[in-house]
Amino acid sequence: MTTYLIRRILLLVPTLLGITLLTFLLVREAPGNIALMKGAGGENGSRAMTAEQREAMIKLYGLDKDPFTAYAEWIGRLTRLDLGDSWVDHRSVVAKIGERIGLTASLAGSALLISYLVAIPLGVIAAIKRGQVTDRAISFTVFVLYSIPSFAAALLLILLVAGGDYLNLLPMYGTNSINASEMGRFEWLWDRIQHMILPVICLTYGSLSYISRYARVSMLEALAQDFIRTARAKGLPERLVILHHALRNALIPIITIFALELPVLISGAVIIEEIFSLPGMGQLMFASLEARDNPTIMGITVFVSILTLLGYLLADILYVVVDPRIRYE
């Protein structure tokens, strides 16, 4: 197991190199660059830049270099844990990510947790009531949910419950109300939670519907196994047969998809944070892409890649915990 873990962790390095190289080349070679963005408005605009100024800026940011040389330099700095400074506000990329990652992590974390907490019981119920009205109702609902894009759901929810046109139950955007600084601790927390409800719903329902379908299939498969008959033949109550003998087996495949959910949630956060004006990493990514702020884009890529790869590793470790048949050599 230890050797396996060491090998897996070492394998993260080439994977990470692949991801960053590809991203680096893509953002660098795509048409347009930071100099053009800063000089937006063109030669005749109010913020117009002369051709010489633009050339100087391109040189300053090293955009005239061969892309592979530039990548090598970037990797060199990365090994010293230096992600560089943003080209937009010249603050350190690490600091910029640091002040935003907490919000995104709590959004994605809550979404992941709630997805699982709701999806597994839903899947189990659907599996037990297979073919009955309950199963069909659950299946229909999650299919509908799965089909709605999150930006559409976000806008619809804002319109219905936050806009005041229909209901005015929840705040429309932001992380806190304007007068948050005057609030007591618990009042502040409640205010924050209210602000998070809609974004978390938008991030949750897609994963939730996907995981619940997965849980249903996995549970049906477990319930069809011979050892379920053995458990019943022993005289175990049906509750234990389902929640202990079947669910324990059904959880094995469900656990691995948790790693697949991480990148989905983070890319979802890009859109959702933008819509709800939440200063998280997703919004930073969106803004950096618009501004062609390559160091920040690369910094976020590194962060998210490492997070995703660690998620996969964690899923593999959890696999061993729940399934005694699996021992990595």
Binding site: Q225, R232, A233, G235, V322
Partner: protein, 276 residues
């Protein structure tokens, strides 16, 4: 009073207008401590009968259309869920065909036996000691170490011994062994049958052996029932049935067992046209 009394049992599958009559009105009795074999080919209704004894056959899809099953005077088909669960394991216990899939892969064998003991013999203080004894009875060496093993760490023969230990742990009055050796290779098959024979002699437990192999029946069962297409076509003391089979199907089944010392170019095949 008979231990088990089955009367005119009928179990159907599929649409009521055109049902598959898996079990078509069978009746039989078993006395306490008796060993009986239920013989027939796949699809003859043996396993359906076996599972029906404790209503393990889910309904739907199965439909119990007629008859009664009485175990120790209690009407199994009308037993409330709670009493039914008490009957399963402690009254009637099962050993199934495929030991590798009949044990739950994520729990240790010790735990799986413990579950049965906790459920039916809560008065036992030293449960671990009881598990060790159960494993020892079925010939598992170093049971103290083995009880923390997971099923996949054991061979097929050992897994089947664990299944038997689990079934015996609750001291059932009837053990239903549903093709207990079919999934095992021949040498292991003999070991398991020898074990069942030894257990039969040690206890006053009745055994219902379900098999398609007449070869296993001869020196094991006191009585034999032959099932064909959901019906019992022949029954009687084993020696008599073997010596003088009345029904064409029984004869055909017996002839299907290859005999030592006889030259046979081909194995016998049952000729259904002649039977029906």
């Amino acid at each position: 009073m008979a231990l088990l009394h089955v009367e005119n049992l009928g179990i159907h599958f599929g649409p009521p207008e055109d049902p598959v009559r898996a079990v078509d009105g069978i009746s039989f009795e078993m006395a306490a401590g008796e060993t009986m074999a239920l013989v027939g080919e796949s699809g003859s209704g043996k396993s359906v009968t076996a599972l029906a004894l404790t209503r393990l056959l889910a309904s739907p899809p199965a439909r119990y259309v007629s008859g009664r099953i009485e175990f120790e005077g209690r009407d199994v088909l009308r037993l409330p869920e709670r009493e039914l669960r008490a009957l399963r394991g402690s009254g009637i216990a099962y050993v199934f065909q495929e030991p590798s899939s009949s044990l739950n892969p994520v729990f240790t064998i010790g735990y799986q036996i413990r579950e049965a003991i906790d459920l039916h013999r809560p008065e036992i203080r030293d449960v671990t000691g009881e598990i060790v004894r159960a494993l020892d009875t079925v010939g598992i060496r170093e049971p103290e170490k083995r009880l923390n093993d997971y099923p996949h760490q054991l061979s097929g023969g050992m897994q089947q011994r664990v299944m038997i230990a689990m079934a015996l742990a609750c001291r059932p009055r009837l053990l239903v062994a549903d093709e207990p050796t079919t999934a095992l290779d021949v040498t292991i098959q003999k070991q398991i049958m020898d074990l069942l024979k030894a257990l039969k002699q040690q206890s006053n437990m009745a055994i219902l052996l379900i098999t398609h192999n007449f070869g296993l029946v001869a020196d094991f069962a006191d009585r034999v029932l032959v099932m064909f297409q959901g019906r019992i076509v022949e029954s009687g003391p084993t020696a008599e049935v073997l010596r003088n089979p009345q029904h064409l199907y029984t004869r055909a089944l017996i002839e299907c067992v290859p005999k030592l010392g006889q030259k046979q170019r081909r194995l016998k095949v049952i000729d259904y046209a002649g039977i029906n």
